[in-house]
Point group: C2
Chain length 456, copies 2
């Protein structure tokens, strides 16, 4: 049995939903279908979820909601029409939206969740109706009815463990289940959305709880590429990788997946297949617990900008017990996570994501470094990028760091930082942001384009 | 004006002391001479300081001290005889030792200090006598009389800042001052020795306080070599390096100098010249505040064994604010300093010098990692070595890390860890201890033997 999740672009139009129906009907083991809200049909298009956020904002600001409501209804109307589904369905969408807008609003965040979720919820009803219309027995299933109970703050929920027991009953359903992604309900029955990658999480939870043989994640690309295709020309497609590799790549900038969204599936050892709705015959990328092949030590190369370095210098720092702990404590007081901490005898750097910093925080941190840690020097530099080589089998392969460093040097990139030694899955090179693209290309060529590779 | 310090092997015998006298007489600017206790004349020889420690131990254990006392007196007698100095000098040495042995012993550490310092003290008197005998006007100067006031525990004193003012008066002395290294006195007049590199510290303090133009540190090698001569054949001699380079090399395993002993001179911008008593015409190694040459980016390569790695792994560690600080806090509770902390998404390693660990400490640390930090995995591996490339101008030179990593790979060494990015003066490679020597040779050849060097 397979659980399939279709992302926003896969369900953005009648034409796309027809492809989805074709995919479902071609394999009877595709029993549970999780759908996103209609996404973009072309780059400048507006997603339904974004329309709903605007609509909710207008309602919260007591502005006129009618034109924004009409925009959402119009989009669903266009899709329904294309699928040959009658106007009465469009009326139910409008009624649904009006009833959400009319709900009590004790908490703005919960209201926003309720509005945003309307995209997935109505799309699931629409797709279930369409499947039945073309002869595929299907049923819309509400997360509330199915028992997907979510805990946590608005917009960042997590499924509780008992949900997995309740949701396991879904496998008894003989019809194809169409399940809206992105949200569940609290124990008190209040709608709560997941964080980033929300529909991916729903699919992963359903795959885990039903013990699916496979979690198929349909998107609009043929799979995961070994490097960003916007920077590297025609990068290699990754045929198979491990969960750990996926997580490292996602954490370090691969946007096709959110690093934690697939975890429920991984934790229950359900393999994940990233596939293309527009090219379903392509094998896609398979993400599994273990892979055997050791011929390709580097499976992918991530590049991510937006890092800063806090540098502190103090003579005889190495003799000062507790210095590092106190420095990290200052960052923690500002609710700042750190990525890496390269050290010298008399100095220490902390690599931080820019998103954690503000000018006020930076000022407070530097002041405390001087006042409390009595450092000789402290400063923060931004505009760093990280180039991350990922591969489970890198640890068995000597000379990998050398090849990467050599490729970077050959491209004229100065290596600002190297972090290797704890993770067995990654090696991190810090470079100046201005060098990021050429650095990524150079390292990609070294490991993926045979003519470029150096040998010893 | 120069302050000269002569180490143990430079004053180990009459023949060596004659060389010292020759060095002093050949340059009239050598006005202050700091001397060690007689050191080893040949590898299996016993240093006077070690004899004195045995003597003090015997006294503390109420054992027979006479044979050990006779050994020290005998050694001085041999030197005095060789220098043509009369037996009455030898009697003063014996009297001095007996009076030290007879002193009150309220504190064993202070008694040990008093006994150990007899080596330097009597040697300074002997050398002053010899200089006068051969026509060089010289005077023995006691640290007490000169005002070298030391604070801190027995065996690990530090000069107080006012000592520098008092000691500055030494430059008014017209005769050559012979000053015993290694010790001073507390404010209460109790003798207290310095820590490791003690006579070097005395010389550095005198050079700093008298505003010397140069601090000449005479030893038994031609200077500082770019790598350990016991591992690398005929390593290059470092002609000139900066204080920071010296400190990095010394901290990371260069034994010719102790990393902090020369700091008083550096803090007062007195250049240091490491010279060879047995080859005084050789220019030696000059240690200065700044150097201009940028042709040789790597000035020296240190290698040091005796490191352990504490590795901890916990899923979603990257999301857990304060994890790193808490881990370092556990180490701090055990009074453990750390060297480096390479990090991954879900894991962190801490590199520690083995000397800080015991089986009991390791057990407590691992238990707390599991109990308090709730890690999924934690273990400690020992037998790591660090290969450290040092050079102020490395930061201007692209591709250095690549060349080093490539040389390591070419030698079949697996790189366990790389730390680059905070210190501008060093790059650290962690390797298995069994690979240390071949790793050092490979990196040395890459940067110092033209035929081996790789180019881009």
């Amino acid at each position: 049995m397979k659980v399939c999740k279709f992302g926003g672009t896969s369900v953005a139009s009648a034409e796309q939903i027809m492809k989805v129906a074709g995919i479902i009907s071609s394999d009877r083991s595709r029993r549970i279908v999780v759908v996103s809200a209609p996404g973009k049909r072309y780059p400048e298009d507006r997603k339904v979820t974004d329309m709903l956020i605007r609509l909710a904002d207008a309602a919260l600001d007591n502005k006129d909601t009618e034109p924004l409501l009409a925009e959402v209804v119009g989009r669903f109307s266009l899709i329904a029409e294309g699928l040959g589904i009658g106007g009465e369905f469009v009326s139910t969408v409008e009624e649904d939206l009006r009833s959400r807008l009319a709900a009590d609003r004790p908490h703005a965040g919960r209201f926003m969740d309720l509005m945003k979720a309307a995209g997935e919820d109505n799309n699931a009803r629409l797709i279930a109706a369409y499947l039945n219309q073309i002869g595929i027995e299907a049923v819309y299933k509400s997360p509330k009815e199915a028992g997907l109970i979510v805990e946590g703050p608005a917009g960042d929920g997590m499924a509780d463990t008992e949900s997995y027991v309740r949701l396991s009953k879904l496998k008894e359903e003989t019809r194809v289940i169409v399940f809206p992604g992105f949200f569940g309900y609290t124990k008190d029955g209040v709608l709560c959305t997941f964080g980033r990658g929300g529909s991916d999480i729903t699919g992963a939870i359903l795959a885990a709880s039903t013990g699916a043989d496979m979690y198929e994640n349909f998107t609009d690309v043929d799979g995961v590429f070994a490097a960003n295709p916007n920077v590297v020309d025609n990068p290699a497609l990754i045929g198979k990788m491990t969960y750990r590799e996926m997580r490292e790549l996602a954490y370090n900038g691969f946007t096709v997946l959110h690093d934690e969204s697939l975890m429920p599936a991984f934790n229950h050892s359900v393999p994940v297949n990233i596939k293309n709705t527009n090219n379903p015959a392509a094998p896609g990328t398979l993400i599994v617990k273990e892979r055997e092949c050791k011929t390709q030590p580097v499976i992918g190369i991530a590049a991510d900008s937006g890092f800063s370095t806090l540098y502190v210098d103090k003579y005889l720092m190495n003799r000062e017990m507790g210095f590092g702990r106190r420095l990290l404590g200052i960052l923690e007081d500002e609710q700042i996570s750190f990525e890496h901490t390269p050290t010298g005898i008399d100095n220490m750097s902390v690599i931080i994501r820019n998103k954690f910093l503000t000018p006020e925080k930076e000022e407070r941190i530097l002041k405390r470094c001087f006042d409390e840690l009595k450092v000789d020097d402290a400063h923060i530099s931004s505009d760093y990028s990280m180039i991350v080589l990922v591969g489970e089998t890198m640890r068995y392969s000597k000379g990998l760091a050398a090849r990467a460093a050599m490729a970077l040097a050959g491209s004229g990139t100065n290596i600002e930082m190297i972090n290797q030694g704890s993770s067995e899955v990654s090696i991190v090179f810090g470079v100046k942001k201005e060098d990021e693209k050429k650095a990524l290309r150079a390292v990609y060529n070294e490991f993926f384009v045979p003519a470029h590779a150096h040998t010893f």
